[in-house]
């Protein structure tokens, strides 16, 4: 026990003396959460819509007011003016000689990026057409559905469960948690162990009577502690700054995450037994863990749309199970009992990785 504590103290000193690592470890989660929370938002606010009427009789103003009421849309006339009180919409009579001018003008507005969509209203025929800039399909889809929704064009009354405002934070906070712990645990742990290989101090540890179990546990402890600190930071930021509800299941979220942290540490340990240099450890940990976590976990790209082989492949990505489970627990408010499959898969993976890592570690270093 004494040896273990001395070991943990030594590891803690390594972390504390390496300012750069310390900075990464402490700031990375905060920066990522804030960055994703405020800067990189996948929600679309402030879509700019221009409204054009084909004739003076059409009440384009009323339609524009309705669109404007939506917080996501900002409405302007295509070629109108605003007298301080009312918006006036130009309403050229729909004459054949002006027809081309009109569609040219719409093109121009979209091309210059002055608007994301133009709504053309033809009151006499009772028809409307929405011309959308679809160069960004995401924006285009959102614009179409926002405008459709705002006009109430016979669409069903939609109720968004769990995330009524469709906040992207609900999606990315679990995703970011899946990513951050992989970076901190897997990458930093593997680099920390491989550093000892590189400098030769691992040999000194191996020739000492200390069991590899103690060595490995002591190596992981400080990173585990740091991860717990990060978990607290992330949950606090998510809840108080981004307004993610935690759905009254903070305990279950924490339990799930602790399991995931141990798993990520086991990955780091396994990586460290496979490579000889710190650079190789970093690359392997990043490729083996970070890329699949970003691409195949459903964090950013919905897995449901992926080709079947990729969906199968994603089954071995721990983050997929973790992120799925955290969403259920944190956002939907399910209990741990409802995510037993995910828990079992994660626990199984952890046991397997730890066993493989310890078996490899026990081999001598040459």
């Amino acid at each position: 026990m004494n040896t273990y504590l001395a070991f943990v103290r030594k590891e803690a000193l390594h972390i504390l003396r390496d300012r750069r690592t310390l900075l990464v470890v402490v700031l990375l989660p905060i920066v990522q959460i804030l960055l994703f929370g405020f800067a990189i938002s996948t929600e679309i606010n402030d879509l700019r819509i221009r409204v054009a009427a084909t004739d003076r009789l059409t009440d384009a103003g009323r339609i524009a007011t309705r669109l404007d009421a939506s917080p996501y849309l900002r409405c302007e006339a295509l070629d109108g003016y605003y007298d301080g009180k009312n918006k006036y919409y130009d309403s050229f009579s729909y004459r054949s000689d002006r027809k081309n001018y009109r569609s040219d003008r719409i093109d121009q507005v979209l091309r210059r990026g002055e608007a994301d969509a133009v709504l053309v209203v033809d009151g006499r025929q009772g028809r409307m057409q929405l011309v959308v800039d679809a160069s960004n399909p995401n924006t285009a889809t959102m614009a179409a559905s926002y405008v459709g929704g705002a006009l109430g064009g016979g669409a069903p009354d939609v109720r968004m469960l769990y995330n009524p405002q469709m906040l992207s934070a609900y999606n990315f906070v679990p995703g970011l948690m899946g990513l951050i712990f992989v970076i901190i645990c897997a990458v930093l742990t593997s680099v920390a162990i491989v550093r000892e290989k590189e400098t030769g101090s691992l040999d000194l540890l191996l020739v000492s009577p200390v069991s590899p179990f103690v060595t490995v546990a002591a190596k992981m402890t400080p990173y585990f502690a740091v991860s717990c600190l990060n978990l607290a930071t992330i949950l606090a930021l998510a809840h108080y700054v981004l307004g993610v509800p935690l759905a009254g299941r903070a305990g279950a979220t924490v339990a799930l995450t602790l399991l995931y942290i141990v798993l990520a540490l086991a990955v780091g340990l396994l990586v460290s037994t496979l490579v000889r240099t710190q650079v190789a450890a970093m690359v392997l940990a990043l490729i083996a863990m970070m890329l699949p976590t970003i691409l195949l976990s459903g964090m950013i790209f919905p897995l449901e749309n992926a080709p079947a082989p990729l969906q199968w492949l994603s089954a071995v990505v721990p983050a997929r199970w973790y992120i799925g489970a955290v969403r259920k627990v944190m956002i939907e408010g399910l209990s741990l009992g409802d995510v037993t499959v995910e828990l079992a898969v994660l626990a199984g993976m952890t046991a397997l990785l730890l066993a493989a890592a310890l078996k490899n570690y026990n081999k001598r270093t040459d």
């Binding site: 040896t3 504590l5 030594k10 400098t199 040999d203 000194l204």
Partner: protein, 306 residues
């Protein structure tokens, strides 16, 4: 002699197609200062790692204090102090922190063993709070030795402890090893410096994974078995070396510090050789009888080996 501190039998270690250690058999008595001497690539580090239980032999066996290095590695590890050739302590930890950590690894503490390391660690005490990475080469070696000694090992394994260390520190280091030996510790040290052989009780000359000879330094020197001459001249030394080697009467001629070491094929004929060299254009040719050193023996042994 009672049971040996170290005994190996046909110890062999291969790395792929390279045989780093090729059937080495030797014994080290308790309380002996044993030198493993040979050039880079001779298998010194491989041997040390095998004895330290860091690596497993492909064939043969080794025992330390009668414990097998494979089957009883825990027993071996408790009793052995190992110092690798490269500085392997933690450069970001201070001198005192390194020492305390290694004491804790062996479930002991610095105070309990301070008497043993005092002569070595003493000069380092002033730098106790300095990061180990910022010490000078000689200081690093002393700290590494202190860490290897902190658990009072019965056997000390040192892999090239004096490589890359200045001559004064080297001399000092061997004095420290001699003192540890006189306290009853068995010390095995490897070195590429042949001049350090005389500091050992017995030495093993090794090359290309084999032990060429294991004996006391004096016995090794005596085994040279033929008169040896120091050859020097005013002219270009390299040309002199080549000219001497071309001479039919010369058995071997090797470049050493100030003069070439030369042995004759049959009966020594220094005067005849001097005449022939001077006839060949060398001035002030001087041939004087000298005592063979360990390096001469090593050269002779590797010659036969080729």
């Amino acid at each position: 002699m009672n049971a040996p501190a170290i005994a190996t039998e046909n110890l062999t270690r291969r790395f792929g197609r390279l045989t780093a250690l090729d059937g080495v058999t030797f014994r080290v008595g308790r309380g002996e200062l044993f030198g493993v001497i040979g050039p880079d690539g001779a298998g010194k580090t491989t041997l040390m790692r095998l004895l330290a239980t860091l690596s497993r032999p492909d064939a043969g066996r080794a025992s330390v204090l009668e414990f097998d290095t494979v089957r009883q590695q825990a027993e071996v590890r408790r009793r052995v102090g190992y110092m690798p050739g490269r500085f392997a302590l933690y450069p970001d930890l201070t001198v005192a922190e390194n020492l305390a950590f290694f004491a804790a690894l062996y479930r002991t503490d610095v105070a309990a063993n301070y008497d043993l390391i005092a002569p070595i660690y003493g000069p380092l005490e002033r730098f106790a709070s300095r990061p180990a990475g910022k010490l000078s080469g000689g200081m690093k070696q002393k700290l590494a030795l202190s860490c290897a000694l902190i658990h009072r090992p019965d056997v000390l394994l040192l892999d090239e402890p004096t490589t890359g260390v200045d001559p004064v520190s080297r001399r000092e280091f061997w004095t420290i090893l001699a003192r540890l030996r006189s306290q009853g510790m068995t010390v095995v040290a490897s070195t590429p410096y042949m001049d350090e052989a005389s500091r050992c009780d017995r030495i093993a000359l090794c090359d290309a994974g084999r032990f060429l000879r294991v004996d006391s330094p004096d016995a090794v020197r005596r085994s040279y078995g033929r008169p040896l001459f120091g050859l020097s001249a005013a002219a270009d030394r390299h040309a002199l070396l080549l000219a001497a080697r071309r001479d039919a009467a010369v058995r071997s001629c090797y470049a050493f510090g100030n003069e070439h070491h030369l042995a004759f094929r049959d009966r020594p004929d220094p005067d005849g050789l001097r005449d022939r060299l001077e006839a060949g254009g060398f001035r002030d040719v001087c041939l004087r009888p000298i005592e063979p050193g360990v390096e001469d023996c090593f050269m002779q042994l590797t010659e036969r080996h080729d």
